[in-house]
Symmetry: C2
Subunit: 266 residues, 2 copies
C-alpha cells in the first residue's frame, strides 16, 4: 500500500464516509483539516441530486467539517456539465427533480421546460414525483429526448427507514419508455472522470474514498482510479467477495487512511 | 386443428381482440352472438385494473358486443380473489390504484387502509400515482406486507401515444422495496386458473383467445391451456418465432376461429 504515499487528490464520498445522517463520523473533521494543511487536493463527490453544492457545504460545516461550495460536486452538476458539452444544439430540458437539479441546469445555461418539446429528460430524486411527470418524461423520451438519470440509488437510508431513491423513479421511466437512462452519478465512471477533469489532476495520483462498494468503489473501478473502502458506513468486509468492483484497499477509518498516506501505519 | 371443434369455453381478451380503443373489430359482435346461440361458455379476461366489470361491460355493449357484468373478469378481481382465499388472517390492504381496484377489494371483504399497518400492498394502474404512495407502499412491503401487482403491462397504447402502464409503477415499487411483486394478470397463470375455476369448466375444453403473445398467449401457456393468437391487434406473425410462449394456433380473425370450431374452415 505504499502507493498511497504518492496520492495527491482525494475524491471523497459523504454519507457513510464523513457523516451518517446528522451525525459526524468522529475523525472526519481532523482528516479534512489534515488534507488542507498538508496541501492535498480533495473534492466531495456525492450522488445527492436534490441539494445545491451550497446546501451540501452548509451541512458539512454544520457538522464541523471544512467545506466551500466549490469543494462539492453533485450528480446534478455532472448532468448539467454533460449537457453543456454534449453535441446536441438544443438545450431544452424537462427535469424531474428538486432544487439542486434545477439550479445546476439553470447555471449551466439549460432552458428548463415544463412541457415539451425537449432535447433532454433529466431525472433525479423528486419527492413530488407523479404519474403526470412520469407520463411527460416517457412521451418526451419516446419522441427522441435523451434520458439522463442523475443517479440510480435504489433507496435512501433515513431515520424513517429506506425511502425510495432516484433509482426507483428511473425504473418507472425506463419501463414506461422502454429506454435505458444514461447514468451520471456513481457507479458511472463519468462522475469520477468529470471530477478529475475539473480538478485538472492525474488519475494515477488520485483515489476514490467511500463506504459503498456498489457506488463509490465501482465508480473508481469503472473510471480506472484506485479506491479506498472505509468500513464506517454501508458496505461490510464480507460484502467484498461478491462485489462487482473490488476496492484497491480496505481500511477501518479515515485516520487509518491518513496513517497510510503519511507512512506511519505501523 | 380439429381439437378446436371440442372447445366449449373461450377466455377472450378485449383490446386488440374485440376492439381497438373505441373502434369495434368488425366481426366481434357476431362472434360473441354465435358463442351465445351455440351454447358455448365465455369470459372476458382483461388486465385492465382501473375499470369495474360493470364499466367494462358498458363499454362492450356501447360497441355492440353482448356483455353482462358477470361476463367480465379483471386483474383487480383476481387480486381480490387471491387475497380472499390466501392464508393470511389479516385482510388490510394498502391500494395503489383506481376505482376498479377499490371496488374489487371492497366487494371481496378487504379493509382498504390509507396508512399502515397493512397485510397487503396491491398495485395497479394509478394515474394519481405519487412519491408519497410509492413511499408508503415500499415501507409497508419492507415491514412485511405482501406485494401484489394486478398486472405488469409496461405501457398503455392510447391516442396520445404509449402512456405509462401498471408495470412502470410496479417497477418503481419493486426497485424501492427490493421485493418482486406477485403478479395477478396475464401472463401469470393465476388469472387463467381463476377464470377456469370460476366457470367450473375443464382446461382441456377451454382456449385462451387474444392478440398479444407476451400476455394472452403466454398466460395460456403458463396455465397449460391451449391458445389462439388472432392477428387483429398487437402481435404480428413474425413475432412468434422469438416469443417466450407460442400459440397453439394462429388465425387471422374471430370469423376464422368460428369456422375452425364449426369445422367449416375449407
Amino acid at each position: 500500500m505504499t502507493w498511497l504515499r504518492d496520492i495527491e487528490t482525494f475524491l471523497i464520498d459523504l454519507d457513510g464516509t464523513l457523516y451518517r445522517g446528522n451525525e459526524v463520523i468522529e475523525d472526519a473533521p481532523a482528516f479534512i483539516e489534515w488534507l488542507q494543511s498538508s496541501g492535498r487536493r480533495y473534492l466531495y463527490v456525492t450522488n445527492n441530486s436534490s441539494r445545491t453544492p451550497e446546501q451540501v457545504a452548509d451541512h458539512l460545516r454544520h457538522l464541523g467539517i471544512p467545506a466551500q461550495t466549490e469543494d462539492v460536486f453533485t450528480s446534478s452538476q455532472v448532468a448539467a456539465e454533460y449537457i453543456k458539452t454534449d453535441g446536441r444544439s438544443g438545450k431544452r430540458v424537462f427535469a424531474v427533480g428538486e432544487g439542486g437539479l434545477y439550479t445546476a441546469l439553470t447555471e449551466a445555461g439549460c432552458e428548463v421546460v415544463k412541457e415539451g418539446p425537449a432535447d433532454y429528460v433529466v431525472q433525479g430524486i423528486d419527492r413530488d414525483f407523479s404519474y403526470e411527470k412520469l407520463k411527460h418524461a416517457s412521451l418526451l423520451i419516446q419522441s427522441g429526448a435523451l434520458f439522463i438519470s442523475t443517479n440510480v440509488d435504489k433507496a435512501l437510508p433515513t431515520e424513517h427507514g429506506l425511502l425510495p431513491g432516484s433509482g426507483s423513479l428511473a425504473a418507472a421511466i425506463r419501463t414506461a419508455s422502454g429506454t435505458e437512462p444514461l447514468v451520471m452519478g456513481k457507479p458511472a465512471a463519468r462522475m469520477i472522470d468529470f471530477a478529475i477533469e475539473r480538478l485538472g489532476v492525474s488519475k494515477d495520483r488520485a483515489v476514490v474514498v467511500g463506504d459503498n462498494l456498489e457506488t463509490d468503489i465501482l465508480a473508481g473501478v469503472n473510471a480506472d482510479v484506485r479506491t479506498v473502502l472505509v468500513l464506517t458506513g454501508f458496505s461490510k468486509e464480507e460484502h467484498i467477495e461478491s462485489a462487482e468492483g473490488r476496492p484497491t484497499v480496505v481500511l477501518h477509518s479515515l485516520t487509518d487512511l491518513r496513517r497510510h498516506v503519511e507512512g506511519t501505519e505501523q
